[in-house]
Amino acid sequence: MAQHQVDYTKDGGLPIALTSVDKLINWGRSNSLWPLTYGLACCGIELMASGASRYDFDRFGTIFRASPRQAEVLIVAGTLTKKHAEFIRRLYDQMTEPKWVISMGSCANTGGMFNTYATVQGVDRVIPVDLYLPGCAPRPETLQYAVMMLQQKIRRESANKAQKKKRLL
């Protein structure tokens, strides 16, 4: 007979079980990051290259989806024009929680070399961003690294807590 009987429903609840669920969910989330097919300019070419056979994003479980309803990562790959700004916001709002945003390339980060009237000076003016990748354009390896960083970030987050609202306003 067991000498040290522990009642797991009392005395602090189920600490081990809870972290495991957390880890399990985050493991699932971080390894099935489905980004939206969303190339805006030249960076979009690198985005496509990352998805193709040589760099093979599928092995991270990163499978590009054509609908924001099925996607949870928005990779802003390219120059965001002011005309398009409202549509990126609409796509972002259509994605289901939890969702993350990677801003890829100088144009998405700061407007880049397009210091003009028609370019949004950084997508973070419109949607909240989790990761910024420098480069013009960033190589597919950089994007891979960004996805790995995002996975790390997700694994560090608590899964059962309601996601902190990431809103600009």
């Binding site: 005309k83 700004a85 700061t110 407007g111 009237y117 028609a118 003016r125």
Partner: protein, 268 residues
């Protein structure tokens, strides 16, 4: 909010004179030097008034009265075999003489010739649409309206083509600031969040990659390379740079510009 300074007279005070190389004009030849062009010009002159004409870079340039634009272009298309309209747009001369210059660039595939028809219009003067002659004029004219604000008569769909429908101003006018006017700089914020949230989002950060004039010795103004050590300050006082927080960082020495030395011996 960002201060807005009107830039209506940028064209009158060209701030770029010393930055760009101004190419000399290509010589203009007499129309008589080319037989085919001479007969084209004679055909136009027999029915319409021509104010100026010359040949430049193997292309005939003819200035006409804008009221005749449909007639001249129809004549060139049907009788002179200029079957294609390759380009159509305007040039902003508002600051110089208050006018726009409209041009129609035509190409004849069978005769292998190009001709350019030009005309001046006043700022608010509408232009007859030529899309009944060439379908390609449809979008070009919409772009002309979008970029210069030139109104069109008899156009089937006179709407902006590149900029959003609720855009203010006409971006290709010389008086339009490159980085946008007040409405342009807040466009996405106003549209998505509303005007009342301008303070929250904040003004646009322009020129994130700005290089200080003193960052390197050889970085000079655009268009010039200067010898090492030349004075490029243009009378501007040197600003002290500070790369670290005021309090300093634990265990890290603070960079003191006064104690630095610039090594001028390039063989060292």
């Amino acid at each position: 909010m960002r201060r807005y300074s009107p830039k209506d007279n940028v064209q009158k005070k060209p701030y770029y004179t010393d930055r760009y190389y101004v190419a000399p004009q290509v010589p203009k030849l007499d129309v008589e030097s080319d037989e085919e062009f001479a007969s084209d010009l004679a055909a136009i002159e027999s029915k319409f008034t021509v104010s100026e004409s010359y040949i430049q870079l193997d292309q005939l340039v003819v200035y006409i009265d804008i009221a005749d634009n449909l007639g001249v272009l129809e004549l060139l298309r049907d009788e002179r075999a200029y079957t294609q309209l390759s380009e159509l747009s305007a040039i902003d001369w508002l600051a110089k003489d208050g006018k726009f210059e409209i041009f129609y660039q035509l190409l004849s595939m069978s005769r292998r010739k190009r001709i350019r028809i030009k005309a001046y219009i006043d700022e608010a003067q509408p232009v007859k649409s030529v899309q009944s002659l060439w379908r390609s004029a449809d979008w070009s004219e919409r772009e002309m309206y979008d970029m210069f604000g030139i109104k069109l008569i008899n156009h089937p769909f006179p709407k902006r083509i590149l900029m959003p429908d609720d855009w203010e101003g006409f971006p290709l006018r010389k008086s339009y600031p490159l980085q946008g006017d007040e409405a342009a700089s807040w466009y996405e914020v106003d549209k998505i969040f509303g005007k009342e949230h301008r303070e929250t989002i904040g003004a646009e950060l322009r020129d994130c990659a700005k290089v200080d004039r003193y960052d390197t010795e050889r970085f000079s103004r655009l268009g010039f390379e200067v010898p090492k050590g030349a004075d490029i300050s243009g009378g501007e006082k040197r600003k002290k740079v500070q790369y670290q927080e005021d309090g300093g960082v634990f265990l890290i020495d603070r960079f003191d510009e006064e104690k630095t030395v610039i090594i001028r011996d390039k063989d060292r």
